[in-house]
């Protein structure tokens, strides 16, 4: 049994009267790939925003590698090793593909204002290493031909991939993917799933994946958590969850028998 890397207990977030996330508890083991599914508006993205510090929880605790992270600023949490992608891709549109990735490495650079302004040897050295590393990462994902293109000019699928590359560059331990398959056709989805399986192996990541299309998650996740109206309604192996009456109800509505 591998140790748990993320421990969420009784997490609650309310916006005014609306409980977007209610009493949410989840434990992720190191190296696991877990799917977080549920219909639109179930509160999945809110959970991500709470984990990454974009929102402050109303109640509950989030522990990452044994350390409480709720209440920390998003950049602190990112620096601790939690990376994410966004449902509506958030790249730095006017910057080149290379710079998009180099920025993500920012936290690992050590040259301060002095080295930067005086262009010392250390600065040039670091800049060179940084560029080298970014290029290596981009090459893994087949984006090496696009280095100097503005990221906003990439086709949709490549933008998604670039966002994943950027998330990986900061050397995370936990990767949160928010609907990576949104807007993709079945063929592209297939390739994406391969990619996810690959980065998980290669970077030894723990991944939490949001999806609202059931079939996407079924293939690759070991465990699936189903949310509806801010609460967990089911949790377990994909096949078991799929046949859970509560889950079917959330997706399709209540089964009613009409007597003739």
């Amino acid at each position: 049994m591998s140790p748990s890397i993320l421990e969420i207990k009784n997490l609650t977030k309310d916006f005014g009267g609306l409980k977007a996330v209610n009493n949410f508890s989840l434990s992720l083991n190191e190296g696991e790939l877990v799917g977080l599914i549920g219909p639109n508006g179930a509160g999945k993205t809110t959970v991500f925003n709470l984990i990454t510090g974009m929102y402050l929880p109303s109640a509950g605790s989030i522990k990452f590698q044994g350390r409480e992270i709720s209440g920390l600023k998003p950049h602190k949490i990112a620096q601790m090793g939690i990376s994410r992608t966004f449902q509506n891709i958030r790249l730095f549109p006017e910057l080149t593909v290379l710079d998009n990735v180099r920025i993500a490495h920012h936290y690992h650079t050590h040259c301060g204002l002095f080295h930067t302004l005086f262009r010392t040897k250390a600065f040039h050295q670091e800049e060179k290493e940084l560029t080298q590393k970014a290029k290596e990462f981009l090459a893994i994902f087949g984006l090496e031909g696009r280095l100097n293109e503005k990221s906003k000019n990439l086709p949709y699928g490549e933008q998604r991939r670039l966002e994943i590359v950027r998330a990986l560059t900061s050397a995370p331990k936990l990767l949160l993917l928010d609907e990576p398959a949104a807007g993709m056709n079945p063929f592209e989805v297939g390739r994406l799933l391969e990619l996810i399986a690959f980065i998980r192996e290669r970077f030894r990541l723990t991944i939490l994946l949001i999806e609202h299309q059931m079939r996407v998650v079924m293939g690759i996740c070991e465990r699936v958590v189903v949310m509806d109206f801010g609460e967990i309604i089911a949790c377990g192996m994909p096949e078991a969850v799929q046949n859970d009456p509560k889950v079917i109800e959330a997706y399709l509505g209540k089964r009613t028998t009409v007597y003739g």
Partner: protein, 316 residues
């Protein structure tokens, strides 16, 4: 040193020598010499605002107030010490830079935690407050002159000073932008939430950009005070901040080359038209700028030089 660096250095020195000789032999007369200096000062100021708004994306309307802080402090120092030793200007520039920086830090820290345009409103308010302080400063320190204006500042700024500071200013901003720090600044403009998500302390970098940009204004102010030897609060009201904003928007946000060219063109056009236009329609020249702005925004919404940069201003 790379080949390009050597070429650039030679070019900069050549430009300096040519202009210096032209001034020395009065081919550029004292009047145009003054305007040349003013153009350089505007360029320094505009480079600062470009760092704040063009690169970091923080809308600030307080540039003239920081310009005024640098101007009044340095003028006060050289007037009080009462010397015409040019080195007092260095002291004035450093003091102006430090005070502008500290004030910017005090204003920036609480406001820059917030997203969006709060900085614009706060700096607008700050600009108005500073104008009132300059207007009434003589009540506390009589030598500052208040609304009657401050006189008797030694005339120390000349082309050599402005050119040296200007070259340094360009060098600093170039080195800053083409670095990890610069990329962090730009990422905030591009998408603040994404910047946080990749581990960038956005508050820290927004403050850094704002403080450095305001230091530029303070330095420019110190040069300005010793150029005309007269300061008036009206030169530092918020409309003057809008002038700087105009320059960077026209020149292209996030373009060093565009800012420099537009700032110099702006100063020369403003004065040049004074010479060219007949008396009767002289005041119409102030209509020309808004008109240019409107046309540019329609034709080239990203500014005249938006996204362009001279080769020597780019990173390797």
């Amino acid at each position: 040193m790379s080949n390009r660096t050597v070429k650039t250095i030679i070019m900069v020195i050549a430009v300096y020598i040519v202009l210096f000789i032209l001034i020395k032999f009065s081919i550029i007369n004292p009047y145009w010499h003054q305007i040349l200096c003013y153009a350089g000062i505007m360029a320094i100021q505009a480079l600062g605002l470009n760092l704040i708004y063009g690169y970091t994306g923080q809308f600030s309307l307080g540039q003239a107030a920081f310009y005024g802080i640098g101007a009044y402090l340095s003028a006060y120092i050289s007037k009080t010490i009462h010397t015409t030793n040019p080195l007092i200007l260095i002291l004035g520039i450093i003091a102006g830079a430090i005070l502008s920086g500290i004030v910017a830090l005090l204003i920036g820290l609480p406001i820059l935690r917030l997203r969006s345009d709060y900085l614009g409103i706060a700096t607008l308010g700050f600009g108005i407050i500073m104008k009132i302080i300059f207007d009434n400063a003589d009540a506390v320190i009589p030598s500052l002159g208040g609304s009657r204006g401050m006189t008797g500042i030694p005339r120390l700024t000349n082309f050599t000073w402005v050119f040296t500071v200007f070259v340094l200013a360009v060098l600093v901003i170039r080195n800053l932008i083409n670095s990890s720090i610069g990329r962090a600044l730009v990422s905030i403009r591009e998408d603040e939430i994404a910047a946080e998500a990749v581990g960038i302390d956005t508050t820290k970098y927004k403050t850094l950009g704002f403080v450095i940009g305001c230091i530029y204004a303070g330095v420019a102010g110190a040069l300005y005070a010793h150029l005309y030897s007269f300061l008036h609060p009206a030169n530092f009201d918020f409309l003057k901040s809008i002038d700087v904003m105009l320059i960077i928007v026209l020149g292209g946000l996030g373009s060093i080359s565009g800012t420099i060219i537009t700032a110099i063109a702006w100063a020369f056009l403003l004065e040049g038209l004074r010479v060219v236009l007949p008396e009767a329609i002289l005041d119409w020249r102030l209509v020309i700028y808004p008109l240019i702005l409107i046309i540019i925004m329609l034709v080239r919404p990203r500014g005249i030089f938006g996204g362009m940069e001279f080769k020597f201003l780019k990173s390797d």
